[in-house]
Amino acid sequence: MGKNWIQKRIAFLFSALMIASLCMVPASAEEDTEAAPDTGVTINVYNWGEYISNGVDGTLDVNAEFTKRTGIHVNYTTFDTNESLYSKLSGGGAEYDVIIPSDYMVSKLIGEDMLEKLDFDKIPNFKYIDDQFRNPAYDPENAYSVPYTWGVIGIFYNKNYVDASETTSWKVLWDPKYKGKILMFDNPRDSFGIAQKILGQSYNTTDANDWQAAANLLKQQKPLVQAYVMDQIFDKMDGGEAWLAPYYAGDAATLVENNPNIGFTIPTDEPTNSFVDAACIPKGSSHKEEAEAYINFLCDPEIAAANVSYIGYSTPESAAKELLPEETVENPIYYPPREIMDKAEVYVNLPEDTNMLLDTLWAEVKMGGPGESATLVAVLAAFLLLYIGIVIHKRRKRKRELQ
């Protein structure tokens, strides 16, 4: 009697946890009879979240397949933005063997000497990569990276309220008719990019005046924007809360396929952005050869096809395209026509001072200039005064009571 229920409670908690952890073991311990001999090596792979075919719902479990074929284990982890990948890498302490950053981050990492040169003799499947994706602007000699997926940015719109003919220009996102129904990217590069193309600039301009002009354009647009969001656009568009949203084509393709009210256009009046995510090996990798085997494995057309059909982005390999269903390959969302691709521009890393300028301008756009920060300071000061007032009042009261 007495306190022993607590002991029982602890025992119960533990046994529950033990059972839970026991249940988890069989899932990872599955082994096939025809597996390659275990090499005992584990490589650390760092990729975008939800960016590989993972065996759910009858898809191919790419990492398990790699382990089965080569005997190399994969510790697979995920990140949410290029910037968090960069901070993880530059922070030190974490050793990755394969990373999959986007174009401009690849050029930044090359510039800071953070990538290992790849040995293309160990990556024979590089031969499947189409010519147009070789020697890209972010890696001109194609020494450090192997393209994994690519895509373009376009406009999603609600067919009930927006006419398809309006969406051929990015300017529709500045149309006061759609006040409060427009969504924008919640990252500086993509949001500024749209304004830059309206102004006819390059994405990679280093002229401070250009950036200032783009920022002014975004400030003009701000009263019309419902929210600056990333993945929330799926819910907002699907539910009809927002009518216009620029986004990565492949990501939101399911939206168009499943919701008949939603359309997608890649603007043709101005150019669009095409982006590439590419596999690289960071400096300091202790299993470079195994990492190259992994990259080679990702380039296998069969694996590439499995990955892009899970992710929804486009593959840089014609051989993989042949394994995909025809309606996907002919869908302009996934594989836009040549004339769009010829005009499309890729992000390249910006010099340090331009990056700083971009960060300040973006903060200004989102915060709404110095006027609003003054209100913020005023509110904070009011709270502080109130707090001090209460403290002084209490002290006086106590003193009076003591007397």
């Binding site: 697979y76 050793e95 993945d231």
Partner: protein, 269 residues
Amino acid sequence: MKVLSKIYCFFIYLFLYAPIVVLIVFSFNDSTTMSRSVWSGFSFKWYGQLFSDRLIMQALGNTILIAVVAAVVSTILGTAAAIGINSLKRWPRRLVMNITNLPMVNPEIVTGVSMMLLFVIAVRAMNTSLGIGSIMIAHITFCLPYVILSVKPKLSQMDPNLYEAALDLGYHPSQAFFKVVIPEIIPGIVTGMIMAFTLSIDDFIISYFTSGTTQTLPIYIYSMTRKRISPEINALSTLLFAIVLILLLIVNLRKEKENKEILQDEEEP
């Protein structure tokens, strides 16, 4: 007035539980678009997918392992520390308590970054890399003050003569400690442990900086935000919520039962 207070209570509970209800409802949503806002029929689809998703299961396994280790170790260390602090003189005690409380008011991001910097130096010296070990150390560290804080009040409530009485009656000091002191303070220890466990499961910021190449569930969920957070996470959250609810119910029912027994015992003689 009574009606007003009922309405007030209703709204408080509504705001507390509405998000959880929505989350649970949409974990049963049968939709191919992975929609989180449009209902299209009942199914267990996401539960099935959840258990076949190796990455989620691995992240969950890591999270639970880290939480159990952090809870157990920080409880042992924290209890020992609380006993030590309690027997200090007044001024040193105040000083030590303030120092232990400092990490709690420190913004998590500061704790996270500073731990990362420290671990990176240590890891370079030892020629390894950050991983599950460094997260465990970090979690034990930030859980410690909470354990101390929940054990210490129980110690100050305890009659200090109890321990000495046990010694006088022939107990060895270790026996006296385990049979007299521990039973007195066990509610504080359990509270501290449960708190440490939940804090560790929840933690994102500190884990994010100290995790190296290990991935916990919060980090994994956060990394999904470029594409979209899969309803599998709804299913997982629903299961966790249900397990916690059942545990709470069991605990409370047992408590109820024992209270009744105590009452009966008191009435009988």
